[in-house]
Every structure is written in structure tokens, then in C-alpha cells.
Symmetry: C2
Subunit: 98 residues, 2 copies
DNA sequence: ACTCTATTTCGATATTTAGCTAAATACAAA
DNA sequence: TTTGTATTTAGCTAAATATCGAAATAGAGT
């Protein structure tokens, strides 16, 4: 729980999660969306990975990250419960029409 | 949002919030529930206060802290929304019968 | 075997954090 | 006004974090 909240305490990392909610993305594509250096972004990815919030697969030269929605959801669920709230899924974001 | 998640990233501070969900408590009573020194607890209170999660009134010698439930709730609500969840209040804890 | 691209690791520095003890403050009470 | 109780501030250390540029690694393509 601490690792997850720590990961969420940085706005860059929260935005990464929101971006990954739309679709999986490569480290480079994600990094391009922010002002900081790639090594810094790589460190942010590591924090998110260690919290279990994202996972990656290698694809050719690229590393593709994707959100581990269930981990985020269970953490929020547990926390919400402790404060007398209930959490439920409303919708997934639109996927691009094909 | 960052201040709130930062505040929540420490287990001591999360437990303080849970205790204050039951009832307002003095700094000393709260501190007595943990192993760490009172100055350390005071620093934790400061972090929670700066995040807006708790507030205090002076009462004689004591400082009574209470949870700012609405701040916590709005933060969670906003975050939940960004991930397609909905949050709603289920119950308040039992107050002592009189 | 090179070379290019993508990403991470390394090494450095600066800042923040959590913890402590000792000292200061605030207020009550004697 | 001195004493006692509650809490915070000050000053410190050790550990963790965020950031960078440079170097290392991994794969693909030539």
C-alpha cells in the first residue's frame, strides 16, 4: 500500500498511468510526453513497476509498458473500504474505432 | 493531489487517519498508540495538516485533531474519476451508544 | 562486424524524509 | 509565579528520492 501511494504521489507518474489507461505505450513514447530526461523517466517507470502498477514486454528494440489496472483497483478498493466507501467500475475509455 | 498521496504513503499516517475516523483525538493520545517519539508524531501531524487531511483545535493544554473527511473524499473521488471508477459512501462507523 | 535506435544503468549532486534528543512554548493549576 | 503537562520547534544524522549527463546494453538493419 505504501509503495502504491508513494508511486501515486508524483504527478508525472500519475500522468503516465492515465496515459497507459488509454493504451499500452513504449518507454520512448511516454518519455516524449514529458520535459524530463529519459533516464529520469526510466526511474519513474521503475517506481511504478515496483509498486506493481505497470508491467512491460519487450517488442523489438522497444519496451512496451501497460497498466496493471487490477493492482490499482484492488489498492483503491482496500483503501476505500477502510474509510467506509465503496468503489465500482463505471466505464472503460473509448478504444480507437476501427 | 501530490501532497495527499504523499501523506498517505506512510503507514503511520494512514493509521492516524483511521483512528481519527472513529473520533477526534488529542496529539498525545494519538502519539501513545505508536512506538515513535512525540516529536516524530508531531511531524506526521504536520504532513497530514499540510495536505488538508486533518485539522486541530486547541482545548486547554491539548491539541485535538480531527479528520477532514471531505478533503480525503474529494481527493479520492477525483482520482477514482480519472480511472473510470465511481466512489460512494457506504456507512459511518458506529458512534458510542449513549 | 558495424551502426543506428531504444532503453537502462552508473555515478554524481541536491533535496527531502523519518527519526532522534534537547530545548522552547503554551497553558493550567497550585 | 513557580511547577507540571502537552505539544511543537530546533538541530542533527542517516537514508531515500529526483534529477542529470555519460556510458552500457539489447536488438535490428546494413
Amino acid at each position: 500500500m505504501s509503495l502504491i501511494f508513494k508511486a501515486l504521489s508524483d504527478p508525472t507518474r500519475r500522468r503516465v498511468l492515465e496515459m497507459l489507461r488509454q493504451r499500452p505505450m513504449s518507454a520512448g513514447d511516454l518519455a516524449a510526453a514529458f520535459q524530463v530526461s529519459k533516464p529520469t523517466m526510466s526511474a519513474h517507470f521503475a517506481v511504478l513497476r515496483e509498486a506493481g502498477l505497470i508491467a512491460s514486454e519487450k517488442q523489438a528494440q522497444s519496451v512496451i509498458y501497460h497498466l496493471q489496472m487490477s493492482v490499482l483497483e484492488e489498492a483503491m478498493l482496500g483503501f476505500a473500504q477502510a474509510f467506509g466507501w465503496q468503489l465500482h467500475t463505471v466505464s472503460k475509455p473509448d478504444s480507437s474505432p476501427d
